[in-house]
């Protein structure tokens, strides 16, 4: 499975593309795709948002979904989705909605 992630241009906040067409601030709302077709659709959306100066550093990343919970396969993306592991009071993990990420 893959999801689309980026950082918001104005403040650098890590964001994930959600099924409702917005860029969500937590990974739990990310839209997952499971095939090439879905990947190219997300890629096109990412490119358009980049060209439209909404986001920067756009990437498709690998995730696994278990019991509805999205978890990136790379530690880098796990940390991006949660916040620094040495400061659990900072980043997304400090918000209730992202605790399980």
């Amino acid at each position: 499975m893959k999801i689309l992630t980026a950082n918001r241009l104005s403040d650098g906040e890590a964001v994930w593309y959600a099924a409702d067409g917005t860029w969500a601030e937590t990974i739990d709302r990310a839209e997952t795709v499971a095939d090439k077709l879905g990947e190219s659709r997300l890629e096109a959306i990412g490119k358009a948002a980049y060209d439209n100066d909404e986001v920067v550093d756009v990437n498709l990343i690998d995730v696994v979904v278990t019991d509805g919970i999205i978890r990136p396969t790379r530690l880098r993306e796990v940390i991006r989705a949660a916040g620094p592991t040495n400061r659990t009071d900072l980043g997304k993990q400090a918000r209730a909605s992202a605790r399980h990420a």
Partner: protein, 556 residues
């Protein structure tokens, strides 16, 4: 300390205005990311994992209290209440919004600070011995020369697009506390037989993926030739440094591939044209800059000895701090104090907004308004009367910065690693935290003695792991963190690059591995005066390999 003149003020203000305009146009979508990225990097703005990052220059690591207070203010107002002091004597903020950059830079400019040339292929912030101007063992304060280099290199038209970044470090003492031999240029300020000042010039050192120790290409360069000679080096590098491959673009590769003799010959040939031209530094100019760095008026405070004797009796922990974090000053009644940013479980180099403000207050009250940032990621009060040390200590206890571990195993250098850095392979801070917990006991640390442990989260080596007595490098293996250990590195006047001891360790085993290494050292050392580095140099890898890998090592 150095004060901006009108030119400096206008220059920094103009840059703030220019970059503010660029940010505005970027946010309005008038310029693309491709166009904007080089502009933001020229102003110290990176994009990291969680957010933007702003790197602020602290020239040669020197701050006054007003500046440190402003750094605290920025942390509180625009960031998340803290900043990270780095091995390059700078500070990095981890969370600022791009839209706040103009305001942050304006605030910095109001206290004569900026983020110019903290990134990009230019001459970066010049670093210096953090005890400069205070150290008892120093020939002269190296900072006036660092300031001359700063002025000369700022937006230098010829040297703004070098093959790669360029880092210069200076020391004025034989004991090298600025790691000059792992810089592109290292300068050792000294005196010749006649008492004249000049420099031993080292070129082509560096860390990163190809660690190389700098070569001394001149033993004594009279001070008036500083700029002409460095210009000659820069020209040779600018012309012949490789631009085809980013990994071979640093001057260390050029010096290595050209050979030291031939490289020196090319520099000398270039220098012959420059030597007696407009770059020669008039004595009067050097002395004029030096007056900015004149030591504060240190009045006699002979009551210090008796005060310390009593304070030691009164508090054992004060005595330990005194032994560990306080060093001898040029003036017998004064001392230089290391404020450790390496408390147990803390991220090395991080300081909170209120800690910055409190240290600024201390500097103002007891330290002649001066603070230094050390490349070992601590703060320094360079001039404190011995009679005031107890008061300083008590104030540090209140803000949790009294850790008495300078130069001990928990005085760790660590880069931000995978907790923040977009280039990282593995975490650094978490490893540092676990090691500080494991070696929490000060008694044990002091028994182990001087031991420099340095951690980088990838081969770029921002955490100086190559020159750690124990170096830890994070790599990624099959999607997981793995830590490679090097032993025997050193960043002082006897610089050496650490050697890989064997296969790496997972995050759950790395602290045990460090402990095994330390226990092995304690077993093999001649006595407690033989520090880890010396013992390793004497006995080599074998006992450490055996202890870490056992029979497996013998078979290999």
């Amino acid at each position: 300390m150095y004060r901006y003149d009108e030119f400096d003020h206008d220059f920094v203000q103009a840059r703030v205005a220019e970059f503010s305009d660029q940010v505005e146009r970027r946010l309005a979508g008038e310029i693309t990311e491709d166009q904007f990225k080089p502009l933001r990097l020229m102003n110290g703005v990176y994009l990291q994992l969680h957010a933007y990052m702003l790197r602020v220059a602290i020239p040669y690591g020197t701050l006054n209290s007003k500046q440190l207070r402003m750094l605290g203010h920025i942390a509180r107002k625009y960031d998340k209440g803290y900043g990270h002091f780095t091995t390059r004597q700078n500070i990095q903020y981890n969370w600022p919004a791009l839209s706040d950059m103009p305001a942050i830079l304006a605030d910095l400019a109001s206290v004569e600070m900026h983020a110019i040339q903290t990134s990009g292929n230019c001459i970066r912030n010049v670093t210096a011995d953090h005890f400069a101007g205070a150290a008892a063992d120093e020939v002269a304060d190296p900072r006036p020369y660092a300031e001359i280099l700063r002025q000369w290199s700022s937006v230098h038209p010829e040297f703004s697009y070098l093959p790669r970044k360029f880092k210069i470090a200076v020391t004025g003492a034989k004991r090298d506390r600025a790691a000059i031999q792992v810089h592109d240029i290292g300068l050792h300020l000294k005196k010749d037989e006649t008492g004249a000042l000049g420099f031993a010039v080292y070129v082509g050192g560096g860390q990163g993926r190809t660690p190389i120790i700098a070569k001394k290409i001149r033993d004594f360069l009279p001070e008036e030739h500083l700029l002409s000679y460095i210009t000659a080096i820069m020209r040779v590098y600018n012309l012949h440094g490789r631009r085809d491959n980013k990994y071979k673009a640093r001057i260390k590769i050029l010096v290595h591939e050209t050979g030291v003799e031939e490289f020196t010959r090319q520099v000398d040939a270039e220098w012959a044209h420059l030597k007696d031209g407009e770059l020669a530094l008039p004595e009067a100019d050097i002395r004029a800059i030096s007056t900015y760095f004149a030591p504060p008026a240190l009045v006699a405070r002979p009551e210090g000895d008796e005060a310390l004797r009593l304070a030691r009796l009164d508090s054992r922990s004060f005595g330990e701090w005194l032994d560990q974090n306080v060093v001898t000053h040029k003036h017998p009644d004064y001392a230089a104090v290391t404020i450790s940013l390496k408390g147990v479980g803390e991220a090395p180099g991080d300081a909170s907004d209120s800690q910055m403000e409190a240290v600024a207050d201390l500097a103002e009250r007891y330290g002649f308004d001066e603070i230094r940032v050390s490349h070992e990621q601590n703060l320094i009060l360079p001039h404190v009367a011995r009679a005031d040390l107890r008061a300083v200590y008590d104030a540090l206890v209140e803000i949790g910065l009294q850790t008495a571990n300078s130069n001990l195993i928990t005085d760790i250098i660590a880069c931000p690693g995978l907790d923040y850095c977009a280039l990282a392979n593995a975490r650094s801070i978490s490893v540092a935290q676990e090691i500080t917990h494991r070696f929490n006991s000060l008694e044990r640390q002091r028994d182990i003695g001087e031991l420099k442990l340095k951690i980088s989260g990838c081969i770029n080596a921002c955490g100086h792991h190559h020159v750690g007595h124990i170096g830890i490098l994070g790599v990624e293996k099959k999607g997981a963190e793995l830590y490679q250990v090097t032993l025997g590195g050193s960043g002082d006047e006897n610089t050496s690059v650490g050697e890989i001891i064997g296969r790496g360790f997972g995050p759950e085993d790395i602290t045990d591995a460090v402990e095994t290494i330390v226990e092995t050292y304690l077993r093999v050392r001649l006595d407690s005066s033989e520090i880890f580095l010396d013992a390793y140099r004497r006995v080599g890898q074998a006992p450490f390999k055996e202890a870490l890998y056992g029979s497996e090592a013998k078979a290999a």
